[in-house]
C-alpha cells in the first residue's frame, strides 16, 4: 500500500481542477467531462482506503498516515491519516462527488468551467479537512471549503444568492476565527519555544489540559463547529444557503459540509478538551433536542421546498449532536452513522429537488401536486429517500436514529434534573423528547410528499413533467442502494468506527480515568501504516507537568557597541 495513497485521494480533485482551468473556455461538455472523470477516479482511488482499512487497529493510530515537513520551525507539518470516522465521511464525500457533478450536467449552463473548478476544489478541501492530522493543515482545508462554496452559492444560486452567500460566509467565518485563536493557544502551550507543534496526534497525546483552561478553548472550538453543524440558535444561515444554492451546492452542503461540524466535535472539540466537553455535554444534548423539535416545527411552517429540507437538516443533525453528547458507545456510533445517513438521505432529497426544479422552475409547495402521476419513477425514488429520512426501519435512517436514542436513553453520566419534586435522568428525558422528532419527521415529510406528488395535478405538473433520464437514474440508484444496504446491514460501518468511537467515549465520558487500556492496545500495530509515519505520532505516555505558557521566552541579549565595529 503506497503511503501517498491518501494524499493522492485528497489532491486528485485539485489536479482535476487545474486541468479544467487549463482547458479552453467554450461550449461542449469537456469541462464537465474532465470533472466527472476526476471525481470517478477519486472514488476509485478511495476504494482501496475502504478495502485495506483495518478496523481493529488500536485507538489513536491512524491508517494511511503520511507525514512531511511543512514549516518545521513553527511546528506545522503536513500530516494526514484516517481513523474509522474520517474514513466513513471520506467515502461519503468521494461517493457523492460524481453524483454531484452528474446532477448538474444539464442545469448549469453558464460559467461551466469555473463551476467545475469550484466543485473539484471543494472536494479536495473537504477530503483534506477529514484527513488532516495537523491543526494548521486542518484549518487551512477548513477555510478552503468556504471559498468554493461561497462562489457556488453566490454565482450559480437563485434570486437572493448574494445575501445567502455573504450570510453563509460571515456565519462560518466568525466561528472559525475563534477556533484559530484556540489553535494558537494550543500551539503556544505545546512545549518550549522551538519544540511547539500543531500536530493533532502529539497534542492529544500530551494529555488533558487543566480543566479551567479547557472551558474557553472548548467553547471557541465548539462555536466554530456548532455554526457549521448548525446547532439550534446558530442555524439561520442554513435555510438561506440551501434555498439559494444550486442543487449540487445543496447536496455537498448537506451531504458533507454540515458533517464537518459534527466531525469537528468528535475529532477535535470534545477529545482535546474532555473535561469541558463532559461538563457541557448535557447542554449540547439539550440544544440537539431543541434542534430536533424546533427544526421539525420549522419544517411544518415552510412553503419553500428546499427551505423545508434545510430545516429538516437542522432536525437530523440534532440527532447527531444528541448522540455525541450522550457519551455512550451506542449513541456515539449512532451519531456517526447518522452523519453518513444524513449525507445520503438529505443529499438525495436535495438531488431530487434539484431535478424537480430543473423541470418546473419553482420551489413553491403550493405550485406542486400530482407529480406522481406524470413522473412515477421520480416520485418512487423520492418517496424511498423520504422514508430513509424519517428513519423507517430497513432504511439507513432507522439504525442511526435508533442507536442515538437508545444510547441516550441508557446514558447515565449526564446527571439528573429536578422538576417539581421529581428527579429524572437527563438521558431519559432527552431521549424521550428527541423521540417525538420521529413523529414530527413523519408529519412534515409525508405532508411534503403529499403536497408535491399526490393529489390532483396542480400548476407545476399540468404541462407534464419528464420522468428521470438515464443520467439521473445513474445518480439516484447509488443512493437508493446505499440506503437499503446500510439499513439492512450496517455492521461493516459500525465495525469501522468502533475503535475511534470507543476511544472517544472513554476519553470524553470519563476524562479523569486512567487510560491504561489504551496504552496496552497501542502495542498492536497497524499493518499497512508506513513505518515513518506511524511511529512519528508519539504514543501515549505520561508526560511531566506542562510548562506554563510564555515562560520560555528567552531574555534578549543586549548588543554591545563594540560588536558594531
Amino acid at each position: 500500500m503506497p503511503s501517498f495513497l491518501l494524499s493522492l485521494v485528497i489532491f486528485l480533485p485539485l489536479a482535476g481542477a487545474v486541468l479544467v482551468m487549463l482547458l479552453p473556455r467554450g461550449e461542449g461538455g469537456q469541462h464537465k467531462g474532465v470533472a466527472l472523470v476526476t471525481s470517478l477516479l477519486t472514488l476509485a482511488a478511495s476504494l482501496p482506503l475502504w478495502l485495506e482499512f483495518h478496523p481493529g487497529a488500536a485507538a489513536g493510530r491512524y491508517a494511511f498516515e503520511q507525514k512531511a515537513e511543512w514549516a518545521p520551525s513553527l511546528g506545522i507539518g503536513y500530516h494526514v491519516g484516517l481513523d474509522g470516522i474520517a474514513l466513513l465521511l471520506m467515502m461519503l464525500t468521494t461517493f457523492l462527488g460524481p453524483i454531484v457533478i452528474l446532477s448538474s450536467w444539464k442545469y448549469i449552463q453558464s460559467r461551466v468551467k469555473e463551476y467545475c473548478v469550484a466543485l473539484l476544489v471543494l472536494e479536495t478541501a473537504m477530503l483534506g479537512t477529514l484527513a488532516a492530522l495537523d491543526l494548521v493543515l486542518f484549518y487551512v482545508f477548513w477555510e478552503a471549503m468556504l471559498i468554493p462554496m461561497y462562489l457556488l452559492i453566490g454565482v450559480w444560486g437563485s434570486e437572493r444568492r448574494i445575501y445567502a452567500a455573504v450570510k453563509f460566509f460571515l456565519f462560518t467565518f466568525v466561528g472559525s476565527v475563534l477556533m484559530l485563536l484556540a489553535i494558537f493557544w494550543l500551539w503556544s502551550n505545546s512545549g518550549p519555544v522551538g519544540a511547539r507543534t500543531f500536530d493533532y496526534v502529539t497534542l492529544l497525546s500530551q494529555g488533558a489540559l487543566p480543566p479551567d483552561k479547557q472551558q474557553w478553548l472548548f467553547l471557541a472550538f465548539a462555536l466554530a463547529f456548532a455554526i457549521k453543524v448548525p446547532i439550534f440558535p446558530l442555524h439561520t444561515w442554513l435555510p438561506d444557503a440551501h434555498t439559494e444554492a444550486p442543487a449540487a451546492g445543496s447536496i455537498l452542503l448537506a451531504g458533507v459540509m454540515l458533517k464537518m461540524g459534527t466531525f469537528g466535535f468528535i475529532r477535535y472539540a470534545m477529545p482535546l478538551f474532555p473535561h469541558a466537553a463532559n461538563q457541557w455535554a448535557p447542554m449540547i444534548g439539550v440544544l440537539g433536542v431543541v434542534g430536533i423539535v424546533y427544526g421539525s416545527f420549522m419544517c411544518m411552517a415552510q412553503t419553500d421546498l428546499k427551505r423545508l429540507i434545510a430545516y429538516s437538516s437542522v432536525a437530523h443533525l440534532g440527532f447527531v449532536m444528541l448522540g455525541l453528547s450522550a457519551l455512550t458507545v451506542e449513541a456515539a456510533s449512532g451519531a456517526v452513522l447518522q452523519m453518513v445517513n444524513h449525507g445520503i438521505s438529505t443529499g438525495g432529497l436535495f438531488l431530487m429537488i434539484g431535478y424537480l426544479y430543473e423541470r418546473t422552475h419553482t420551489r413553491d409547495l403550493a405550485a406542486y401536486g400530482g407529480l406522481a402521476r406524470v413522473a412515477p419513477a421520480l416520485a418512487a425514488a423520492f418517496v424511498v429517500i423520504t422514508l430513509s429520512s424519517i428513519g423507517l426501519p430497513g432504511t439507513n435512517g432507522f439504525v442511526g436514529e435508533f442507536l442515538v436514542l437508545v444510547g441516550t436513553f441508557t446514558a447515565k453520566n449526564l446527571g439528573t434534573w429536578q422538576l417539581g419534586g421529581f428527579e429524572f435522568e437527563k438521558g431519559i428525558a432527552l431521549s424521550v423528547v428527541a423521540a417525538t422528532g420521529v413523529i414530527l419527521g413523519a408529519v412534515y415529510m409525508l405532508w411534503m410528499v403529499q403536497r408535491v406528488f399526490f393529489g390532483p395535478a396542480r400548476k407545476a405538473a399540468q404541462h407534464g413533467v419528464p420522468d428521470l433520464t438515464v443520467r439521473e437514474w445513474a445518480t439516484v440508484i447509488p443512493l437508493l442502494v446505499a440506503i437499503v444496504w446500510i439499513g439492512a446491514y450496517p455492521q461493516p460501518l459500525l465495525n469501522v468506527m468502533k475503535v475511534p468511537v470507543d476511544d472517544f467515549v472513554q476519553r470524553v465520558g470519563r476524562p479523569d480515568a486512567p487510560r491504561a487500556r489504551v496504552l496496552q492496545q497501542r502495542g498492536a500495530g497497524l499493518g499497512d501504516a508506513p513505518p515513518g509515519g506511524a511511529q512519528a505520532g508519539a504514543p501515549f505516555r505520561i508526560l511531566p507537568p506542562r510548562a506554563p505558557m510564555f515562560e520560555q521566552a528567552q531574555p534578549v541579549r543586549p548588543v554591545q557597541p563594540d560588536e558594531a565595529r
Partner: protein
C-alpha cells in the same frame, strides 16, 4: 430447533414485492399474478411445514439470519422464531393473504396500477411475517413499521385523490405516535434487561416500575397499530384504500399486531398489573365506542371498520384480563370472519361499480347469491346468534373478564382499601352490552345490503363476481365456521375428540400467568346463555327496524327520536373534529407562529440581521468623520497623539 430456512417465509414475499415493484410494469399480467400469488403460496407451504414440525413441550423453530447490528452492549440480530403462536399467525397471514391476493387478481384487474398494488401487497405480507416471526423487539419493529408503510402506500393507493392520500398520511402519522411509545418501551426493556430478545425479556425479573413503564409505553404502540382509543381515528379513514387491502391489513392482520405484541410480551404485562387493567379498560371502552358509532354508519366499509375497532377492543379485553389465549384466539377467528365480511363488501362494491353507500343497496341476495351467503355466515359468526367461531372466542373473552382474578389485589387508593375485584365484572357487563350492539349493527348491515328491494340507480346492474373472488369468500366462510373448534369448551371438545384443536391447550405454556391466579370457576352455560340471548336480542332489534321491505326506516325512526344523538353517531361522535380543534390546528398554527416570530423575527431578524444592521449603522455614523479634509484629519491626529502621550506621561 435451529434451522436455516425459516427466513424464506418472509423473504419469498419480499422477492415477490421486488419483482412486482421493479419490473412488474413491463411484465405480462399473468406472470405478475403468478409471481405475486406464488410467493405467498410458497411462503404458506413453508409455514405449514414448519408448523407441522412443532413438537413437544413449548416447541419452537429458530433461525438466526445474521447479526443486524451490534454496538456496545446492544446486540440486535435479525432472527426468526416460529412457535405455536407465531406459527398460527404465519398460517393466518399467508393463508388469508393468499386468498386475498387471489381475490385481488379479479378485483384490481382493471386498475392501471395493478403491478404497484401487488408489490405493496407482497411487501405487506413480508413485513407482517417479519413482525410475527421476529425473535426480538427491534426486528419486530421493522415489521411493525413496515406494515405501517404498506398501509400508508395502500390507503393512498389512488393518490390522485387528496382525501385518500391524506387518509394514508393520517394512518402513518397516528401509527408513528404509537411507534414513539413502542420505541421508548423498547428502550425501557433494554435498560431493564440488557437485551431486546423476547426470550431474555420474558425470562428476566422486572420491577413493578420498569415493567409498568415499559408495558404502558408499548401499549401506546399497540393503541396506534391496533386502533384503540384514543388513536383509533385512522382506521375508519383507512377504508379509502382498495377493499382487499381493508380485508387483509385493516381487519385480518396488521391491526391485530398490537394484540400479538402484548401476548408476546405477556411476561412484562403480568408484571405490571395496573397497566393490564388499563389495557382491559381501554379495550372495553374502544369496543363500546366502535360499536356505538358503527350503528349509525351508512358506508358499508365504515360499518365494518368500526366493527373492527370494536372487535379489536374485545381482543384487548382478553389480553388485558390476563386471558392471552382468549385474545389471540379471537384474533384468529376474527381474521377469518372479518376478512370474509370485508371481501364480501368488496364483492358488493365491485358488483355495484364502486358504490359504497348502503342506502343505495338492498336486495342484493338476488344478484349475488354467493356473496350474500358467505356474508351471512360471517355475520352469524361475528354476532354469535348461532355458536360459530366468533361466538366461542368472544364468549371466552367475556367469561374470562367476568371471572378474572388479575385485578384482585389492585387498589384504587394507596391506603389499600377498595380492591378492584369488581372491575372484571364491569368489563364483562360492558362487553356483553357491546356484543348486543355488535349483533344489532352487523345485522343491520346485512339486512340493509342484501335483503329487501334494490334501491340503487337504474343504470347500475348488480352482478355476481368471478370465481377468484367468490372462492376466497367461501373458503373464509368455511374457515369461520370451522374455527369454532378452537374455542369449544374443553369438556365439549373432549367429548367430540377435538381437544387437540383447542386453542387454550394449544397455547398452553406460551403465556405468563397473572399474579392473581387462574380465573374463578363460573358456570359455562350461564355465560353462553347470556351471550346468546344478548346476541339474539340485538339481531331481533335489527330485524324489527330494518326487516325486508322497510328499507332504511330504522335510521329515520332513530333520527326522529333523538336527532342530536343520531347526528353525533353519524358524525362519528365528532372525534376527528375534536382532534383537529385540540391538536392539529394548534400544532400547525404553533409551527407557523414559531417560525414567524422566533425564527424569522427573533433569531434571524434581531440577532443575525440585527447585528449586521448595527454594524452598518455604526459605519454609517462613523463615516461622517471622513469628510475628506486632510487638515481636519491632521488636527484629530494631533488630539489623539496628545491624549495618548498625556495618558502615558500621567501614568508614568
Amino acid at each position: 430447533m435451529e434451522v436455516n430456512w425459516l427466513h424464506l417465509v418472509p423473504l419469498l414475499p419480499l422477492i415477490g414485492a421486488a419483482i412486482c415493484g421493479l419490473v412488474g410494469k413491463w411484465l405480462p399480467k399473468g406472470w405478475l399474478y403468478a409471481v405475486a400469488l406464488a410467493s405467498v403460496l410458497l411462503s404458506f407451504c413453508i409455514g405449514v411445514t414448519a408448523f407441522s414440525n412443532l413438537e413437544g413441550e413449548n416447541p419452537q423453530i429458530h433461525e438466526l439470519v445474521y447479526n443486524w447490528f451490534a454496538v456496545g452492549s446492544l446486540h440486535v440480530d435479525l432472527g426468526f422464531t416460529l412457535d405455536r403462536l407465531s406459527g398460527a399467525l404465519v398460517l393466518v397471514i399467508t393463508g388469508v393473504g393468499f386468498l386475498i391476493h387471489l381475490y385481488s387478481v379479479a378485483y384490481m384487474d382493471d386498475d392501471p396500477g395493478y403491478w404497484r398494488y401487488f408489490a405493496y401487497l407482497n411487501l405487506f405480507v413480508a413485513a407482517m411475517l417479519t413482525l410475527v416471526l421476529a425473535d426480538n423487539l427491534v426486528a419486530m419493529f421493522i415489521g411493525w413499521e413496515g406494515v405501517g408503510l404498506c398501509s400508508y402506500l395502500l390507503i393512498g393507493f389512488w393518490f390522485d385523490d387528496d382525501a385518500k392520500a391524506y387518509a394514508g398520511r393520517k394512518a402513518f402519522v397516528v401509527n408513528r405516535i404509537g411507534d414513539f411509545g413502542l420505541m421508548i418501551g423498547i428502550f425501557v426493556l433494554f435498560t431493564a434487561t440488557g437485551s431486546v430478545n423476547f426470550a431474555q425479556i420474558n425470562a428476566a425479573p422486572l420491577t413493578l416500575g420498569l415493567a409498568s413503564a415499559a408495558a404502558a409505553l408499548m401499549f401506546l404502540g399497540a393503541c396506534g397499530k391496533s386502533a384503540q382509543l384514543p388513536l383509533y381515528i385512522w382506521l375508519p379513514d383507512a377504508m379509502a384504500g382498495p377493499t382487499p387491502v381493508s380485508a387483509l391489513i385493516h381487519a385480518a392482520t396488521m391491526v391485530t399486531a398490537g394484540v400479538y405484541m402484548i401476548a408476546r410480551l405477556s411476561h412484562v404485562y403480568v408484571s405490571a398489573p395496573g397497566v393490564m387493567a388499563v389495557v382491559a379498560i381501554v379495550g372495553c371502552l374502544t369496543a363500546l365506542w366502535g360499536a356505538v358509532i358503527g350503528t349509525a354508519q351508512n358506508d358499508i366499509k365504515k360499518v365494518l371498520a368500526y366493527s373492527t375497532v370494536s372487535q379489536l377492543g374485545f381482543m384487548f379485553i382478553g389480553v388485558g384480563v390476563g386471558a392471552f389465549f382468549a385474545g389471540t384466539m379471537h384474533l384468529v377467528t376474527h381474521a377469518f370472519f372479518k376478512a370474509c365480511l370485508f371481501l364480501g363488501s368488496g364483492a358488493v362494491i365491485h358488483g355495484l361499480y364502486g358504490e359504497q353507500d348502503m342506502t343505495r343497496m338492498g336486495g342484493l341476495r338476488k344478484y349475488m347469491p354467493h356473496t350474500r351467503a358467505t356474508f351471512a355466515i360471517a355475520t352469524i359468526a361475528i354476532t354469535g346468534v348461532l355458536p360459530l367461531s366468533g361466538f366461542f372466542s368472544k364468549d371466552e373473552i367475556l367469561a374470562q373478564a367476568w371471572h378474572t382474578r388479575a385485578f384482585d389485589f389492585l387498589t384504587l387508593t394507596p391506603s389499600g382499601e377498595s380492591h378492584l375485584t369488581w372491575l372484571g365484572f364491569v368489563i364483562y357487563a360492558v362487553g356483553t352490552l357491546t356484543a348486543g350492539l355488535t349483533s344489532f349493527y352487523m345485522w343491520r348491515c346485512y339486512l340493509v345490503t342484501f335483503e329487501g328491494e334494490y334501491r340503487g340507480g337504474t343504470d347500475v346492474h348488480p352482478h355476481e363476481s368471478p370465481w377468484p373472488m367468490t372462492a376466497p369468500l367461501w373458503i373464509l366462510a368455511i374457515l369461520s365456521v370451522l374455527a369454532l373448534v378452537l374455542g369449544l369448551p374443553e369438556s365439549w371438545a373432549r367429548a367430540l375428540h377435538l381437544e387437540s384443536f383447542n386453542w387454550e391447550r394449544f397455547t398452553d405454556g406460551m403465556f405468563a400467568q397473572v399474579r392473581g391466579g387462574p380465573p374463578r370457576e363460573g358456570s359455562l352455560l350461564l355465560g353462553f346463555g347470556i351471550a346468546w340471548v344478548v346476541a339474539l336480542f340485538g339481531g331481533l332489534t335489527a330485524w324489527t327496524l330494518y326487516k325486508p321491505g322497510t328499507s332504511m326506516t330504522g335510521d329515520e325512526r332513530f333520527a326522529r327520536a333523538v336527532p342530536a344523538v343520531h347526528r353525533a353517531f353519524v358524525n362519528k361522535l365528532y372525534v376527528d373534529e375534536f382532534y383537529g380543534w385540540l391538536i392539529l390546528r394548534p400544532t400547525w398554527r404553533f409551527a407557523k407562529a414559531l417560525w414567524h416570530w422566533v425564527d424569522a423575527t427573533l433569531i434571524d431578524g434581531l440577532f443575525v440581521n440585527g447585528s449586521a444592521q448595527a454594524v452598518e449603522w455604526t459605519a454609517r455614523s462613523a463615516r461622517r468623520f471622513q469628510n475628506g479634509n486632510v487638515q481636519r484629519y491632521a488636527a484629530v491626529l494631533a488630539v489623539g497623539v496628545a491624549a495618548l502621550v498625556l495618558v502615558f506621561l500621567v501614568r508614568g
